[in-house]
């Protein structure tokens, strides 16, 4: 299951509670086939390859052309593919998604960039009432192969609306697929898989991990990638299952490394997809460990952790030694940057939940 070049393995150096105990640094996996690159650049490479392979693939979004996007994810693509395929859009998110629906009906495969998580809401009606439902409405007479790329999550010291995690809103909406890569390799793969899917796929990109580096296989066939919606055991363990996705995967791996030094063997699962959820992978793990902690940045209340806890408890009731615990954001608007560290789950909070779970 440990595909080559998953940066997380390398990034697993514990950073908190670290003074309490020494820890081992896991070996870096790499093969000659892979290239060391950032998560952001891996997406760029994925987009480029998708555009090369299918001329119906278009990119649409604010400032994605000459600027290359505010995170430079589309850097260089307009120069290479032209203004008709890399379209600087009007400042209108409803327009971006609404015209993408129309482009898709004409046979195109639009990949839309929403500049920040907090600016997806003007497009909400088009996403929820049109994009998500039109496949069913068409009853087989058409598909909606639209990708929405959404940089999301906090931790970058930004102003309001630039640090949010609205994925649960879309996961609760039937008709959408919602995925979120945690590593450069997954970012590269999942971007292309999202483009290839005939369904609307939202790719939530963990923006504070854009600059994380990892080895990426840029040449192998996409078919070698795991399925778009498969969870992945990032680190095996026996005592507790720690479930994370997107920006919190690195956190989970760090916490697991620290827990190991304290004698607790934590299995880390990277969900990779939040809709559909690969609950089978999580269930298999929890059936073995009997304990589960879920961590995400979105508010705990009605976040993905709620669904996982409900589902896992239903499926693994007799295996559970402790209730599924959730570590997440608070039920308040994402706070000002100077106190965001107190809002975001961190390694200590994850370890606290691990401790509480182990204690019961």
């Amino acid at each position: 299951m440990n595909a080559p070049g998953h940066a997380l393995t390398a990034a697993a150096a514990p950073r908190s509670r670290a003074e309490r105990a020494p820890h081992e640094r896991p070996a870096v996996h790499s093969t000659p086939r892979t290239t060391e690159t950032t998560l952001a650049k891996a997406i760029t490479a994925g987009l480029r390859r998708a555009m090369e392979e299918d001329e119906k693939v278009l990119l649409v979004g604010e400032d994605i052309g000459r600027l290359g996007g505010v995170f430079r994810v589309t850097d260089g693509l307009q120069k290479d593919f032209g203004e008709d395929r890399v379209v600087d859009s009007p400042l209108s998110e409803a327009g971006i998604v609404g015209t993408a629906v129309g482009l898709a009906l004409r046979g195109y495969r639009p990949v839309c960039e929403i500049q920040f998580d907090g600016f997806i809401f003007p497009a909400f009606s088009e996403i929820v009432t049109q994009l998500a439902k039109m496949g069913a409405r068409l009853g087989g007479a058409g598909r909606l192969p639209v990708v929405l790329r959404v940089p999301y999550g906090g931790g970058i010291g930004a102003v309001e609306h630039h640090s949010e995690s609205p994925e649960a809103l879309f996961a609760h909406t039937p008709g959408l697929r919602v995925v979120t890569p945690a590593t450069p390799q997954d970012a590269y793969w999942m971007t292309q898989q999202a483009v290839r899917s005939d369904d609307p796929v939202m790719v939530f990109e963990p923006k504070r991990r854009y600059w994380d580096k990892g080895a990426v296989d840029l040449v192998g066939p996409l078919d070698a990638a795991p399925p778009l919606h498969a969870a992945r055991v990032v680190r095996p363990g026996d005592d507790l299952t720690l479930v994370a996705y997107g920006p919190t995967v690195r956190l989970a791996v760090e916490a697991a490394a620290i827990a190991a030094t304290e004698g607790t063997s934590v299995e880390v699962v990277d969900l990779r997809s939040v809709s559909p959820l690969d609950t089978a992978t999580v269930e298999a793990s929890v059936a073995r460990t009997g304990r589960c902690v879920v961590v995400h940045e979105a508010p705990t209340f009605l976040g993905l952790g709620a669904e996982l806890a409900a589902r896992i408890t239903e499926r693994c009731f007799y295996a559970l030694e402790a209730p599924v615990l959730r570590v997440g954001g608070f039920a308040v608007p994402y706070p000002a940057a100077r106190i965001e560290e107190h809002y975001l789950p961190d390694v200590d909070r994850v370890l606290d939940a691990v401790d509480r779970s182990m204690a019961s």
């Binding site: 209108s92 129309g102 009906l105 009432t129 049109q130 068409l138 598909r143 697929r177 899917s197 690969d278």
Partner: protein
């Protein structure tokens, strides 16, 4: 700020058939009269026949709703000239993005009226293949389709299907919406996009003067046709109860779009003669006098008066009898077709939600299949 702010006298209006049924053959600025100059008696009879069929289907659907065969019906009565005129102006390869009341355009694009009624019966949210007719699915979220139309038109541009001069290739996209829709942000965004990208869209507003119970004055402060200019393209108000004028103006707009000259807004000034839907009660918000006023301006009567004045009396009577017979036959077919529509399978709700397999949907589908099967034993 009275009704005159947006009303019928507030803006110039293209008219090629007077309310009394007299044909106007010149004099408008846009050269519209010339565009339809070639239409002779047979063509006008064809337009009348279409309008009468649409009216008959509409009457039948209303009756079917009363009989419980449909859950709801949104009548297009009064708007037949606008719709038949628009449909007549389109080329085969053009595409239409309708709202939910465009029955006349649908039928004009060759759609089986029975297909159209399925949504209102409650057996589907769609009901036909847009690719087959170029007539896309009805859209119930006000205004959303205008963006789809604009995006579609951007695709048309990328396909090189504008400005080639090939009449079988160059493609226009008709975005239909109502007067109420003009207040929705998405409709303005569609105009921004269409303007910025010079997309081959014809914004076709049927201003039937009411958005459920709200008159135009609640949606706009100036005649709609004027709005286009601020978005960078022309807008024209046309008499929406004049099938010839609508055909001419929409035709001009579509030609413009196909030629790569960009979007245009056509405001068809008309009237919703029936209630908003069969669930609505107009007596609460508009007076009988107004309704009577517009009944006297029925678009079918106008064209019929013209045809009557143009042709031979007996011939005209025979024509009308033919039309009635054809309409009755269609109505009969619709009635039977609708009654025969089967209810969908319960598990069909899981179909086509996704193209690729989806574990949760499959799990729930299996559960419901079992549940329904078990229920048959319960």
């Amino acid at each position: 700020m009275g009704p005159e702010a947006v009303g019928s006298t507030a803006a110039p209006m293209v008219q090629l058939l007077t309310p009394a049924g007299e044909r106007v053959t010149s004099g408008d600025d846009g050269g519209y009269a010339e565009r339809v100059e070639h239409l002779g008696l047979d063509d006008l009879r064809d337009r009348y026949r279409r309008m009468a069929l649409v009216r008959r289907v509409d009457v039948e659907a209303t009756a079917l709703q009363r009989q419980g065969e449909l859950a709801l019906w949104a009548s297009c009565s009064g708007q037949e000239a606008a719709q038949v005129g628009a449909a007549a102006a389109l080329a085969r390869q053009d595409h239409v993005f309708p709202s939910y009341r465009e029955h006349g355009i649908a039928i004009g694009r060759g759609l089986d009226p029975v297909a159209l009624l399925q949504l209102y019966r409650g057996t589907t949210h769609g009901g036909w293949d847009p690719a087959a007719s170029g007539f896309h699915l009805y859209t119930l979220v006000i205004g959303a389709q205008t963006l789809h139309a604009t995006g579609y038109a951007m695709g048309v541009q990328r396909d090189g299907a504008v400005g080639t001069g090939d009449p079988a290739r160059d493609t226009a996209v008709l975005a239909c919406f109502g007067d109420g829709a003009t207040a929705q942000g998405e409709v303005s965004e569609a105009m921004v996009w269409a303007g910025v990208f010079n997309a081959p869209v014809v914004f076709f507003c049927q201003n039937n003067q009411w958005a459920i119970s709200e008159p135009n004055e609640r949606q706009m402060r100036a005649p709609l046709a004027r709005r286009a200019e601020g978005f960078g393209f022309p807008g024209v108000r046309v008499d929406g109860n004049d099938v010839l004028a609508v055909e001419a103006v929409v035709g001009a707009a579509a030609d413009r779009a196909r030629a790569g000259e960009g979007p245009m807004l056509v405001e068809a000034w008309t009237y919703r003669m029936a209630a908003h839907t069969t669930s609505d009660d107009t007596s609460r918000y508009r007076d009988r006098g107004e309704e009577q006023h517009w009944r006297e301006r029925d678009p079918l009567d106008r064209l019929e008066a013209h045809l009557r004045a143009t042709g031979d009396d007996d011939d005209h009577a025979a024509f009308l009898a033919d039309v009635t017979a054809e309409a009755d036959a269609v109505a009969e077919r619709v009635r039977r077709g609708v009654r025969a529509l089967p209810d969908p399978e319960p598990t069909s709700m899981f179909d086509h939600v996704y193209a690729d397999p989806h574990p949760l949907v499959e799990e729930e589908r299996a559960w419901l299949a079992d549940w329904v099967a078990a229920g048959e034993e319960r």
